[in-house]
Every structure is written in structure tokens, then in C-alpha cells.
């Protein structure tokens, strides 16, 4: 496991770094550099997320990381009030975003009021820092 928690950062509202495994490092390592990627099968070209070592369509092990546009549509959301964790400001806007390339991410909405959130709205990725000098993609309304 990499990207372990360093709880002192909670005091300044920096979220905890994601747990990154050897099977998922491609996503987390790119996000740390401000890039949003998904795995694409090196044989059949199918995109997939979350990352995994094998293509479930053709069983190929060859894989490449492709950069995504970061643009997508809000598939669903929830305004989280409880429980509250010191690393976040509440309410937290949790989101499911369907990216235009066809993969779905769990993430957050930022730069929008809860009352203005609507399923189907267009969103675009931006990045927020985490502990451990990493970052994760979140989404704001697209212009």
C-alpha cells in the first residue's frame, strides 16, 4: 500500500490520499500529476475503470494509460451531511460522473451550490491536493 494517511494534515482540511495498490497505481500516479487517465486494453482497445490487470473482454494483459478529456455528465449525486470527517467541508457533494469516453468515476462536485446540482449537468475535471503530495480529480460545472 502506498499513499498512506498522515493524520496531521486533517487540521488544515487536506483530504487523505487514496490508497493506491499495484493494480491501481496507473490512475493514482497520473492524478498526482494532474492528469486523468483510464486503462485501455492494448489488444482490443476497450476502456476500463476501476483499473485491473486483465481486460475482461479479451483477457489481454497488454494495457496502456490514455488521457481523458475530463469532460462528462453528472450521472448521480448525494449531498453528504453525516458523518463528518475533519478533512472535508460539509456538506460534501458526492458525485458519479460519466465521462465522455465512457467510464464512470466516483468523485466530488466543486464550485457549485447543492441547490444548483442536477443530474445530467455537464461537468469538467479539476484537481485537488491530498496528503502525501498527491491529488485526486474532482468536477465543476462545465462552461
Amino acid at each position: 500500500m502506498r499513499g498512506q494517511n498522515n493524520s496531521i494534515y486533517y487540521l488544515i482540511l487536506v483530504r487523505q490520499a487514496p490508497i493506491v495498490t499495484d493494480d491501481s497505481a496507473v490512475f493514482g500516479d497520473a492524478a498526482a500529476e494532474g492528469r486523468l487517465v483510464a486503462q485501455r486494453c492494448g489488444a482490443c482497445g476497450k476502456l476500463r475503470h476501476p483499473p485491473r490487470p486483465m481486460c475482461p473482454q479479451c483477457h489481454a494483459l497488454e494495457v496502456e494509460a490514455v488521457e481523458l478529456s475530463g469532460r462528462g455528465t453528472l450521472y448521480s449525486y448525494a449531498v453528504l451531511h453525516h458523518p463528518q470527517h475533519p478533512a472535508f467541508e460539509y456538506p460534501v457533494l458526492a458525485a458519479l460522473v460519466d465521462l465522455d469516453e465512457g467510464v464512470r468515476l466516483v468523485s466530488n462536485l466543486v464550485e457549485v451550490e447543492p441547490a444548483d446540482v442536477a443530474i445530467g449537468m455537464r461537468v469538467e475535471a479539476t484537481f485537488v491536493p491530498t496528503t502525501g503530495d498527491r491529488a485526486v480529480p474532482v468536477f465543476r460545472p462545465a462552461p
Binding site: 500500500m1 494517511n5 483530504r15 487523505q16 490520499a17 487514496p18 490508497i19 493506491v20 495498490t21 491501481s24 493514482g28 475503470h49 476501476p50 475482461p56 450521472y75 448521480s76 449525486y77 448525494a78 449531498v79 453528504l80 451531511h81 453525516h82 458523518p83 463528518q84 470527517h85 478533512a87 472535508f88 456538506p91 460534501v92 458526492a94 458525485a95 458519479l96 464512470r104 468515476l105 466516483v106 468523485s107 466530488n108 447543492p114 443530474i119 491530498t130 485526486v136 474532482v138
Partner: protein, 384 residues
């Protein structure tokens, strides 16, 4: 199938058990042995959940099982709870085991892993549940089962025009059942729709405080053996008429966000197909249903997915009082996980057994077929 439940045991359900999960499991198991008229040495099979903290070896050396011929654990968290019946029945069917104990022991209120507390690291007692939610939900503050499932529930509300009050009407029914059940958290705690609608948001717009199950300490144990052997035991056997699992591609435990259409619990659709369409049992012959209600939205979604009403129709099915004792499908007559307590689903099997033995507080007259389901595992229990 050839197996039957012949004994059930449980501890009290509380908010502070004051003893370990292992001790709770021991007490529930001995309760089930006494109920079944069996001895510890009769047990040669053990089934639990992958996330249960009680190790088989410790249960064996505490209760005094002499030779374990079969053991297994079911994945999918509480969604796998009824899979314990499938595993036990399969082991009995094929002769791997002669008497199986299925157990769950939990300190979900006083222990270190409260389901309502923010979870930011894999639980030491849930090692088998993997790291998926920790990787893909935790960095976004999506830290609890309620927040994981809320993402699906919001989409469900959007798809079918369902409101919080629609969920509230189901909760009112569950709490009415619980109000009469001395073993329930909700015993003598009346609740109205207004109470529900004024309870605070946990995850808006779908889950209020009163939509949530009760974090509970306790244990449930079931003893399963062959119908042939059951005939020599004191209780009327509760036959496992059908049992099934349906875990679909891309599904996770509760952070289940990657199937294309999240407004339908597709695992439960597949489960219904396996339980009914493949078995010959009929939905309209089910006398009562025990449906996993960790949060009220998934109760409505499962009613639809299992085929008791059409997609989007559960809000009307509930509003028409079909979950009541005189309705089309008396449901969670113990109060459910919301009204009675949350032993991760297995207490719903206790209530099914009580209904079939005719000893439930909220008894369905002459109940002969009871459905128990938890999202992607389930069974039909019968007296036949």
C-alpha cells in the same frame, strides 16, 4: 434442495454488548443447539460472512466442535447474508457436511467498526472485503455505506419520481411492526411520517436519519441439516426450498457504482430469476418477505427488482399498504433491520423461521412460504 433449518439462536440485540464477537457467536450457537436438540459434536460444518471477525478455529475450540468437514464464507457483506443458507444447503445436499452452523457476530455499535462512522482505512476485521471503497470512494469523503448507496438511490429517485416521503411510508410500516416486537430497538417507539420527514439528512435527497438501520451489537446462529435428519428433531423443520446468489459483473459490496443503470438493483433481478423462475416457486404464493433494509431506498428497489411490482411502482405498492399484515406481501414483520436491529441481515432469517413456526409477534396467519433476500443472495423457506 434437501436441507432444513432446525435450530436458531441469538443474543440480545443492543447498543453495547459488553463482550467480544467471539463470545456473542458462542452464545448464539449454543442457543441454536439447544433449540435444535443437537450437541456441539453434531456440528461438522461452519459458514459465515467474509467480513465476520470470528475465526472458525476460535468458534470450534470455544463451543467444542470435534471435526469440521466443511467451511465457507460468503462475500458481498450484508448482501451476501442469505448466501449462508445457499452454502449450508449445498454442503448438506452433496454430503460434504451433516450439520452446518451459519453465524454472524457483530459489534456494529460499540465496536471499532461502526457502519455510520467515517471509514478511511480497511477494517482489520473486514480484511476480505478488499480495498475498493477505500481507493475509489474514500478520497472523496464518501465514507459510509449510507453515502455509497445514496449515489444509487438518488439516481433511482430521478428515474421514477420517487420522494423521501415515499421511503418514509415504508419506514412507518417497519416501525409499526417494531413497536410491537419486544426484541426490537423500535419496541414501544412509535414513529410517524412527520417524524420521518423532519429527521435530519444523512445523505440528501434520499437518506434521512430514520431511513437508516440500527447499528447493533449481537449475534445470530442457524443450524441446518438434512430434511431426513430434521424429521427426528423436536422443531418443525423450516425447509430451504430454494437458495441462490447473483453477483454480477462490476458489482462491489455496497460501493456498487459501475453497472450502467443504477436505478435498478440488477443483482436482485437476477436473484429473483434464480429463486422463482428456475425453481417453480411463485411470487404470488409468498406469504411474507424479509428483505434487506440497511436503508429504506434499497427496500423499495428490491421490491421492484424481485418482481413484486413493476419498476418505479414500489412507492405505490408501499403506499397501498401492501407491506402490512393484510397486504399482498407482509414484509419485515420484525421491524426489519431499520426497526429491529442490524445483525447484518441474519436476524431476518430468525423472523422468517418465527413466521413459519407460527411464533412471530406480528404473525402472518398460516404462513407457509417466506422469502428471505439481501440484494444478491436469497432463499425461499417453506414448511413443505
Amino acid at each position: 434442495m434437501t436441507a432444513a433449518i432446525v435450530g436458531v439462536g441469538a443474543t440480545e440485540f443492543s447498543r453495547h454488548a459488553g463482550r467480544t464477537e467471539l463470545q456473542l457467536a458462542c452464545e448464539a450457537t449454543c442457543g441454536a443447539l439447544a433449540d435444535a436438540g443437537l450437541k456441539a459434536a453434531d456440528v461438522d460444518g461452519i459458514v459465515s460472512y467474509t467480513v465476520d471477525p470470528v475465526e472458525e478455529t476460535e468458534l470450534v475450540r470455544s463451543v467444542g466442535f470435534q471435526e469440521v468437514a466443511f467451511s465457507s464464507r460468503v462475500p458481498y457483506g450484508g448482501g451476501g447474508s442469505m448466501g449462508t443458507l445457499l452454502h449450508a444447503a449445498a454442503a448438506i445436499d452433496n454430503g460434504a457436511s451433516t450439520v452446518v452452523v451459519a453465524y454472524r457476530a457483530i459489534r456494529a455499535r460499540s465496536g471499532s467498526s461502526r457502519f455510520g462512522a467515517p471509514k478511511t482505512a480497511p477494517s482489520p476485521t473486514s480484511g476480505h472485503s478488499g480495498t475498493t471503497a477505500m481507493q475509489w470512494c474514500m478520497p472523496y469523503g464518501v465514507l459510509t455505506p449510507a453515502s455509497w448507496m445514496a449515489l444509487n438511490a438518488t439516481r433511482y429517485m430521478h428515474a421514477y419520481g420517487v420522494t423521501s416521503a415515499d421511503f418514509g411510508r415504508a419506514v412507518v410500516q417497519l416501525r409499526a411492526y417494531a413497536e410491537a416486537n419486544p426484541g426490537a430497538w423500535g419496541y414501544r417507539r412509535p414513529m410517524t411520517l412527520e417524524d420521518h420527514q423532519s429527521s435530519r439528512w444523512i445523505a440528501e435527497p434520499c437518506i434521512r436519519l430514520l431511513d437508516c438501520c440500527q447499528e447493533t451489537d449481537g449475534s445470530v446462529a442457524l443450524l441446518i441439516t438434512s430434511r431426513e435428519r430434521a424429521a427426528d428433531l423436536p422443531n418443525r423443520p423450516v425447509v430451504i426450498g430454494a437458495a441462490a446468489m447473483a453477483g454480477l459483473f462490476e458489482q462491489e459490496i455496497a460501493s456498487d457504482h459501475y453497472r450502467p443503470d443504477l436505478s435498478v438493483m440488477e443483482g436482485s433481478v437476477a436473484l429473483g430469476r434464480r429463486l422463482f423462475d428456475r425453481s417453480g416457486y411463485r411470487r404470488d404464493e409468498i406469504d411474507a418477505a424479509m428483505i434487506y433494509d440497511a436503508f429504506s431506498p434499497i427496500l423499495l428497489m428490491q421490491l421492484e427488482a424481485l418482481g413484486f411490482c413493476g419498476l418505479g411502482e414500489a412507492k405505490d405498492f408501499v403506499a397501498d399498504d401492501n407491506l402490512a399484515l393484510d397486504g399482498a406481501l407482509p414484509t419485515n414483520t420484525n421491524g426489519g433491520l431499520i426497526g429491529e436491529g442490524y445483525i447484518h441481515g441474519l436476524n431476518l432469517v430468525l423472523e422468517a423461521v418465527r413466521q413459519l413456526r407460527g411464533t412471530a409477534v406480528n404473525q402472518v396467519p398460516d404462513a407457509r412460504q417466506v422469502l428471505v433476500t439481501a440484494s444478491r443472495t436469497g432463499a425461499i423457506l417453506t414448511l413443505d
